[in-house]
Amino acid sequence: MAFIPHTEADVAAMLAAIGVSRIEDLFDEIPPELRVKSLSGVPDALNEMEVGRLMSERARSDGIALSFLGAGAYEHHIPAAVWAIATRGEFYSAYTPYQAEASQGTLQLIYEFQTMIARLTGMEVANASMYDGASATAEAALMAVRANRKSKSARILVPATVHPHYRRAAVATAANQGLRFEEVPYCTHEGVVLPGALGRYDKEDITALLIPQPNFFGRLEDVDTLTDWAHARGILVIAVVNPIALALLKPPGEWGERGADIAVGEGQPLGVPLSSGGPYFGFMTARLEHVRQMPGRIVGRTCDVAGREGFTLTLQAREQHIRRAKATSNICTNQGLAVTAATIYLALLGPQGLARTAAAAHARARELVTALTRLPGVRLAFTGPCFHEAVLQLDRPVAPVLKALAGRGILGGLDLGAYYPELDHALLVCATETRTSADIDRYRIALGEALPGARAA
């Protein structure tokens, strides 16, 4: 069949056949007050020439600043081979496999992705990916409610140290499905959740506890103690983790006595460029006992009637096309291209390369913190170990300082006051293996200039 849009004559003939005069009349069962007249916030159409001009202007403002901003998306070195391979036609044109078993190459790639993510997290099963870290976190909360059949409350404990966007996405996705997200405060001295903060929930019916590692402040949570606290009370543990950090840190599958039940995170650090915020991908893993509550696609390895190895979508009875309204999730797709890049990235680096990347990022972050806290008016906000981000306490509000740094071509970090009103003098900074000592020196000098008359923070 040729791909030719309907002509006006085609449309008129179809309308006549069903006895309707205008296409608009097909929607008359929707009450007028529910219909949107026009979309606010969506600008008028531009032609191709105008769009080309606009995007090249925007491109000029991209990627020039020297960035010390992390906060959920991280600049890592991506070997040129990653996208050279990922953009080959065989991978680039293949979206999620709808004629799944005809796409053996795509299925094999997803299978290998799942295998590597499962090994990285120390968990038993991984799915084919989610939209991003925030959607994976929201879906993990919904999954925990299905999986924890002893709990009736659908109450999810969420430390304030979980990424603020993930917390908002979880509420937006799941609050209308009856889930209640309850914020657990952090220790203002250490920047982590102390077990004592959970004491008030000791005797309550709680479904799941989120544990970020590292947390939004870059700090390392006491994951073993928190995990064991939860499991002793029949509470499932959802780990929200950075995949690069897992090359060095204890994987969620080994947290505490029994390990986390579900582990999710943002996959962007694995070979996906910052790209103005997306597209990224989320990953999701779990203990095998929860696999039937897991959303998204899962690829399995099998053999055909002749005994030859093959790959197939599996456990599909969880999905919409079979379970209809009772499907585990309305997500039954995966982030094909970004996952392709991540799979190639992980295969190229291998466990040792990933560990070296993580160690280099950690070393650069320490170098950055050491350099910046030598300045008057700058100190570490929280004590204790970090991965590749840290919170600096300044002697003044952060926003004007960031503006001054931007004027010097430096993206200085995140003003935490925008998300945590009590931290309006606090700046979240990040350095990965891509920052050099010269970069850090440049930041130190610029920050010193941006803090005239500094006094002890």
């Binding site: 002893k150 039937r292 009875a317 379970r323 009772k326």
Partner: protein, 132 residues
């Protein structure tokens, strides 16, 4: 002709009910249902202590080609889910009226009489009308 033990009661949604001596009942899916589903790969049974209404979905049987809800035939309180099925769902295919039972339930007062359960002969008529 399906395998329909005469001492059991049945529902139109293909569950069977066996009266146990202590006033509680045992519930499973019929031979017809297991055959229609095909090889079961997963069975989810309810937790003991859960109160169910008649007609409420309370278990899931999943085969290689479909997943279906199992409905409580009678209002009451679940006293047990069959623990064997988590590891051996295929027991439901092999022995649907015996070891493949799904749950036990203590009917609420008057609920058994109100449930409108079918005899084997009446259930056979349901199957005949479905073109079994």
């Amino acid at each position: 002709m399906s395998n329909l033990p005469a001492d059991l009661k049945y529902t139109k949604s293909h569950e069977w009910v066996r009266a146990l001596g202590d006033g509680s009942v045992e519930i499973g899916i019929t031979d017809h249902a297991q055959h229609a589903l095909g090889d079961l790969v997963f069975v989810e049974v309810p937790e003991a202590g859960r109160a169910v209404k008649a007609g409420e979905p309370c278990a899931v049987v999943e085969s290689v080609k479909a997943a279906s809800d199992v409905y409580a035939p009678i209002a009451g309180e679940i006293t047990a889910g069959n623990p064997k099925l988590a590891a051996e769902p295929e027991v439901v295919n092999a022995d649907p009226y015996g070891q493949g039972w799904l749950m036990r339930l203590k009917p609420a007062a008057g609920a058994l009489a109100a449930a409108g359960l079918l005899s084997a002969a009446d259930y056979q008529k349901v199957l005949d009308s479905e073109g079994d």
